[in-house]
Amino acid sequence: MLRRGGAQTLEFPDVAAPGGHLLEVEDLHTAFRTGRGTVRAVDGVSFTVDRGKTLGIVGESGSGKTVLARSIMGLLPLHDVIRSGTVHFAGHDLTAMEPAQLRQVWGAELSMIFQDPMTALNPVKRIGRQITESLRLHLRMDRSEANATAIELLRQVGIPSPEERIRWYPFQLSGGMRQRVMIAIALACAPRLVMADEPTTGLDVTVQAQILDLLAELQRERHMAVILVTHDLGVVAGRADEILVMYAGRIVERAPTHTLFHDTHMPYTQALMDSIPRLADPSGTRLHAIAGRPPDLIHPPKGCRFAPRCPYVQDRCRESDPPLRTAGSPDHLFACWFPLVNGVSTAPSNGALPSAPPAAVAAAAEDVTNGSDASVGTDTAAPDTGGPTP
């Protein structure tokens, strides 16, 4: 009844080679073949996550953060996907694993919390069953042991009278309760890394904070690593150890949380922060939106991908792609030719602002004419830009 797949059992040593990181993503590319062309959703992303740490991945819709999360998990469609790069998890390369081996990792060592608790629970199965299935599958528990564990898990995620609750169906629970159940399911087998893809987007603001606090508490207790994917810098601000800002499938800035907020180098990160509405603002204050839209990932702009929307854009930004580099502290990476220092751009002139829209049009037009050249150029440039910090 319970199947485990034919592969031999994998070992997951506590501290793993290479480099001792729990998760090591190197030069990950994911592209989708579509009718219009190849969409480079994730384009040369590298980073590491250590045990017990929280990494925030932030970006607006379409920046590739969900595709990145799914690429790491190995949850991509079977057809029309081009993937390259490596994902080392506790020393094992997930990208090289057979499905049967992946199934041993999934749930047991690496699990995922989904965005919408309304759809991520099976509507016709009791929540107890949904929790016990992976316990019985991975930890080989018998029915009563798994039930007892499920009750304990539900109690840990703050569901009152869990003995009764395990017999309930998802539709009998509110959104916040369902997300708690989702967390219980994801954490059932004590994984070492949890991917939370927008875990609170479908919830009320008041419940959001409760859920995130719960996740942080369980993370501390179990010493597990969390990757928190979100579009909301506010969600990761107080919770992540390190933040990775994505734009158009690339990392544009990566720094420890405090550094990122206090010494922002990348104009895009600055724009994201400015776009958060503040309670202190007088009513009637206009919201700061980032003008324009994320670029077309089939024909990304030549040079810096944020150039068409950047208020400080220079000729150099449109000509060549800025590499991911450091300045000062070694753990703060950014991809910008003219980084902000103390909130002021180091770009030579500020006459760029009014001329930005026509420049964007020109850049787009240029792309259409030699789009294929541009994409080849960015592709070969990517390995240089994406290496981990020495």
Partner: protein, 319 residues
């Protein structure tokens, strides 16, 4: 950003509840109040009545099924025994529903005849569901070439006029109960395949299926443990309606003399006999009883199917 910690709003829900109990207890309070709300909705679901008609329908189907099962045990004359002293007898204490032109007891023939209708109806749909339903489940979830080819196959089969094909095959292959069940069962495969596939397809990419994958579930586990329970309501409802359709097909075959061979009693055979040899004028009972029984059975099965569909829809609606 000095205010980045404020953004996270850890105590956003605090002010609302601190009047009563501060901190974690307040959260529990909130959760408990939620829980009583959901209990109410549960009660509403439980109290939704199925209706008196549903119970009549279920009663009739159960009666027919029980009588058909117990036919050997009941104090009935042999359905093929010809009592020449009571030809075309009207309903009486000796023959509750009367006799036909050969002096056979109509009640006995009706009850034994129900066996044929029920076996062909449920048997062939069970077979169609086992094959077509399983193929539909897998094909809807897997997609790709398997799905395309199975779907194309189903369309080819559906393009044949089913009843004509069934008549042709019965005529060539033979007329036993088993053969008729198998032939009609094969004819239901593409229909049931299409319905189950459509339903399976609609669940194949739901988050809970992806979530099950991320917990390490194999494909077969996902198909049978995650998708199947969701497909069952549709399959049962549509299956029941197909049973009704199959019973009509069996009746049509019998009317053409292609169902179980005479003198075996079946409702279709009885209707056929009642319409021949001028029996309709001399003894309309021969035809009336099976027609009424079949009419009520089909109506009941359809009604049960329909009520079950409504019932399952409610759960989907609350989702």
């Amino acid at each position: 950003m000095p205010d980045d910690r404020e953004l996270t709003g850890t105590h956003a829900s605090g002010p609302l509840l601190t009047d009563q109990v501060p901190g974690l207890a307040a959260v529990d309070e909130l959760v408990v109040s939620r829980q009583s709300e959901t209990l109410d909705s549960d009660d509403i679901l439980a109290k939704k009545p199925l209706g008196l008609l549903f119970w009549f329908a279920l009663g009739w189907v159960s009666l027919v099924v029980i009588l058909a099962i117990l036919a050997n045990v009941l104090p009935l004359p042999n359905p093929n025994f010809q009592n020449y002293t009571a030809l075309n007898a009207a309903p009486s204490i000796h023959h509750l529903l009367g006799t036909d032109d050969l002096g056979r007891d109509l009640l006995s023939r009706l009850i034994y005849g129900a066996r044929v209708s029920l076996i062909v109806g449920f048997g062939s749909v069970a077979m169609g569901m086992l094959i077509g339903g399983t193929l539909g489940l897998v094909s809807g979830y897997k997609g790709g070439r398997l799905d395309v080819s199975l779907n194309a196959g189903a369309f080819v089969l559906l393009a044949f006029p089913a009843i004509v094909a069934v008549i042709a095959i019965v005529a060539f292959w033979g007329q036993s109960l088993l053969k008729i069940t198998i032939i009609i069962g094969v004819a239901t495969i593409p229909i049931l395949y299409r319905v189950v596939r459509a339903s399976s397809l609609s669940f194949a990419n739901r988050d809970f299926v992806v979530a099950a994958r991320t917990l390490g579930a194999t494909s077969s586990r996902i198909v049978f443990r995650e998708i199947l329970p969701n497909v069952v309501p549709v399959a049962v409802t549509f299956g029941l309606i197909t049973v009704a359709g199959v019973i009509v097909i069996e009746g049509s075959l019998a009317f053409l003399g292609l169902s179980v061979p005479l003198p075996t009693a079946s409702w279709g055979n009885m209707i056929s006999e009642g319409a021949s040899n001028g029996n309709l004028q001399t003894n309309p009972y021969i035809m009336i009883w099976p027609v009424v029984a079949m009419f009520l059975l089909l109506l009941s099965i359809n009604l049960i199917g329909d009520r079950l569909r409504q019932r399952f829809d409610i759960r989907e609606g609350l989702l």
